[in-house]
Assembly symmetry: C2
Homo-oligomer: 194 residues x 2
């Protein structure tokens, strides 16, 4: 039995989402058949709306639907927390353990994948350091995240700014966005100077 | 920090898919931001296409994009395998262990949820039994699936037709669509008469 073309096509689309395998994609596609036409219209509208309305904060690089993100618009802080991706900002905000501002690199250094400092949102970070006391590097605790942290420390410490790293309470190789709030809070509390 | 409206809206849509929790939905929504506009257009087209092109086979109730599904169009068999959902047909077909035809109930009996025999695709099953030797009931091995199997046996056995149940090699409470091919094959091979 060959899979119905339109179901296979939709499953292929779902398969492009992170962590979605063949079986899960097919399960999602089957679930869509049971949605009403209104729900599917709304689904499409939501997909397009995200693409058209979301852009990057001109200050920190986080996702926003205006010029400057909610955090940069409201908070004044001498602490900048540097993360790899916008989802990491969400994860840290949910702990409530950090009241500073963020900077989103949109990636990590990776010689293997040809990602150099120029590919990351680092230049605009350097323009934000005038009145800053501490830069907390909260990249993932894996090889690329560590390399990025070391690179930033070498770049920023000579400016007389304290550079810290979130504590390795998070197990090596795991992903920051999936850490529970307690682990993330501890990692922020026990940050060590680089 | 409040989540950006359009991202939250899209995450809510993803949250309607089976097994997708809040964190996973948000992860999917973030992944959509990284898709190109062409990819999002294609995603929407695939969503709408599934809804407009997929209908139920007039013989067995399985999903199809024509009047009769691929299986009913090609196979002649005196064995009908009764399943709860179209995804279960896909699961059994992937084992290659069954060469008969199917009948999709689109649900199970559930007094708790007010699902009676009239809500299931049972009437059209009864019209298919003239030349049938065996009805294999392959509903999930849970309370509702068992109740449905017993109901069908009581209905069909008086007609002189053998009614069998797939073997309980599948662990109680699990879901048929996630069983591996070997387990499903064994369950088909060791089916017991009801």
């Amino acid at each position: 039995m060959k899979e119905i073309k339109s179901i296979a096509a939709l499953a292929a689309r779902f398969g492009m989402l992170p962590g979605v395998g063949r079986k899960t994609a097919l399960r999602y596609a089957h679930a869509v058949i049971d949605l009403s036409e209104q729900e599917i219209e709304a689904f499409c509208a939501a997909l397009k709306d995200v693409k058209s309305s979301v852009r990057l904060c001109s200050v920190c690089g986080n996702y926003t639907d205006s010029e400057v993100c909610d955090i940069c618009a409201v908070r004044q802080s001498k602490k900048i927390c540097v993360v790899s991706y916008p989802k990491d900002v969400t994860a840290i905000e949910q702990t409530g353990a950090f009241d500073g501002v963020y900077h989103v690199l949109h990636g990590t250094l990776s010689p293997m994948n040809n990602r150099t400092p120029d590919d990351l949102n680092i230049k605009s970070l350097m323009t934000r350091l005038d009145d800053v006391e501490e830069v907390i590097v909260a990249t993932n605790p894996d090889v690329e995240g560590e390399a990025t942290a070391v690179y930033l420390a070498r770049l920023i410490k000579p400016l007389g700014i304290k550079v810290t790293r979130i504590a390795q309470g998070i197990s090596m190789g795991s992903e920051l966005e999936y850490a529970d709030a307690v682990t993330l809070t501890q990692a922020l509390g026990r940050r060590t100077e680089l």
